[in-house]
Subunit: 338 residues, 2 copies
């Protein structure tokens, strides 16, 4: 396994983005976000997504120059048209707006319609929490998972993010509605391993932990069976309603790749408008202590709170370099040169 320094990774990604027409400042932010996701251990949505993003730009599915334009402003809510601009830039902009509104109103609700793939959803949770805000955000997507009770794909995996600021590192939940991503299935198959728990159904409807059988059937499992399925459906509908945008069923018809013309919700809340820093620190500390003081089970040596391992991975990868798949790394380097 090759490890690549953060700056080297970012520089190459940035060059690749510049070469397909992205302006300096935008390429810098997008490259830093992709490299940051890989650095944080979210390999599926960092470096690995660069070739596909470049491909989308080349196909005209992402407009590198588009900017979000406000369509409606109502109290503490703003709705923007993302104009099919780069999903990362649109989403960062939207979370920034939500925080700005929250500074004055405690809470800011910003939605984006007609945007593109935001890559790693957790990015925007970290963005808010590192600036002192509680965040709730989610996106809808094209269909990629069967609803519970179905064997054909019909719902999105609609990632959902919640984040809380904390002096020792934010608490960040970043969960897709499928138990595993297709990226995880692929990586596990290539290692010749099984999933730790069943991740979908085979073609005959048997629950299985063999990744290849799920990749063949396209019957990936909603997290928590019926629960993740219902959650995905409701997240989809609310994202569409709050943004005046498309539902999963309609995104399917757009045909501009994964998340082409998807819709996102960004809620930021300023906790210091409600209580003191001491109170906030206490709530976080007591909760973390209670979780970490639990007795580890037979498979664990310690218990982590959401976001904790991200910081550990970040630290390790900044020190030792970010692990990369050689094929993908070489492809990105080619994209940075051609």
């Amino acid at each position: 396994m090759t490890r690549v320094a953060f700056d080297e990774m970012k520089t190459n990604i940035k060059k690749a983005f510049r070469l397909v027409g992205m302006k300096e400042e935008k390429a810098e932010i997008c490259a830093a976000t992709h490299a940051g996701s890989s650095c944080d251990g979210v390999y599926s949505h960092g470096l690995n997504r660069v070739p596909r993003f470049v491909d989308y730009i080349n196909k005209g599915w992402v407009d590198v120059d588009a900017e979000p334009v406000i369509e409606k402003k109502l109290g503490a809510m703003e709705i923007f048209n993302g104009n099919m601009g780069p999903g990362i830039l649109n989403a960062r902009f939207a979370m920034n707006r939500a925080m700005k509104i929250a500074e004055e109103n405690i809470l800011g609700l910003v939605t984006l319609r007609n945007t593109t793939h935001w890559m790693r959803g957790g990015t925007y949770g970290w963005q808010a929490a590192e600036n002192g805000f509680i965040a709730i955000c989610w996106t809808n997507t094209e269909s990629c998972m069967p609803a519970w009770g179905a064997k054909t794909v019909g719902i999105g995996n609609n990632p959902f993010v919640m984040a809380v600021p904390h002096k020792n590192g934010p608490m960040v939940l970043d969960m897709a509605m499928s138990q595993y991503s297709y990226g995880k299935l692929q990586v596990t198959r290539l290692k010749g391993e099984k999933l730790p728990y069943p991740g979908g159904f085979d073609k005959n409807g048997n629950l299985t932990d063999v990744p290849g059988l799920i990749e063949d059937s396209w019957r990936i499992l909603p997290t928590g069976y019926w629960k993740g399925s219902g959650f995905a459906i409701v997240l989809d509908v609310i994202a569409a309603l709050l943004s005046n945008g498309l539902s999963t069923a309609e995104i399917d018809k757009v045909g501009k790749g994964s998340c082409g013309s998807c819709n996102q919700v960004f809620i930021a809340i300023d906790p210091l408008k409600i209580s003191s820093q001491d109170f906030i620190d206490n709530v976080l500390q007591q909760t973390i202590q209670q979780v970490k003081n639990s007795v580890p089970d037979e498979r664990s040596s310690q218990i982590y709170y959401p976001g904790e391992r991200t910081l550990l991975t970040r630290k390790e990868n900044l020190k030792n370099g970010i692990p990369v798949d050689d094929g993908i790394w070489n492809e990105v380097k080619r994209l940075a040169e051609s």
Copy 2:
């Protein structure tokens, strides 16, 4: 199995509540809510919870006369002290306030600290959706589930609700963070059956679908394994921060039963301030159609959207009577007479 008419059930529950000191109007609302939950098929939090609620009142853990008192008002947000009043009344009040605020501000955020068990979380989603509002709400609870990686109980199961109004019946997600409730484990064990999917670990740390083994170990499974665990932790912390209230770790120390001095978040959004009724109907219809047009899997004859089966159950139970456990029904009738 005995079936009891809705009115007969409500009347008996109301008498029981009146006998422990609840005033006429409050007893009416609480009784209708308990009977309504059973009528909707949520048997675990309807009639079945009446004896425990009466017990809590007798122990002084719920104050039947307490009213929510506002502690902070900030823009579209209000924080109330529930004063350990009946959880149903406090939560209904809070959702009403959130809707009132949303009428003027699009969005209303109301939190309750120091309240008591709200029974069925979905109640407040239905309340909002039936009045035309999108709702997001959740509660924290005492510890009742091990965090992922732990074998000792340390986190709440913190039910989370999302609801969307729809002319043919709301879309309502009502999910606890455990894969199954202890109520479901008990019912399944009494029938001599296994759970449809693993619901926790036995004492030796083996994942199991035998309900009795999980009841013995108290190692109930978070929904989606690590995902439900992380989600529960973040919901807990945000509920405490937004309400200026207690986290699960602190609720554990209160010692006033299940959810004694818990904290709740109620968000209501008026979708008609954002788009037209036609647009809303279209989004819902397209999504429902896409879900229902999926090909059913080997175990299913059709696919339901969240909330759909609730209405079917309600209709059936209103027509044929609500199925009750004879022991519990007799107990409630005794409580209504003594």
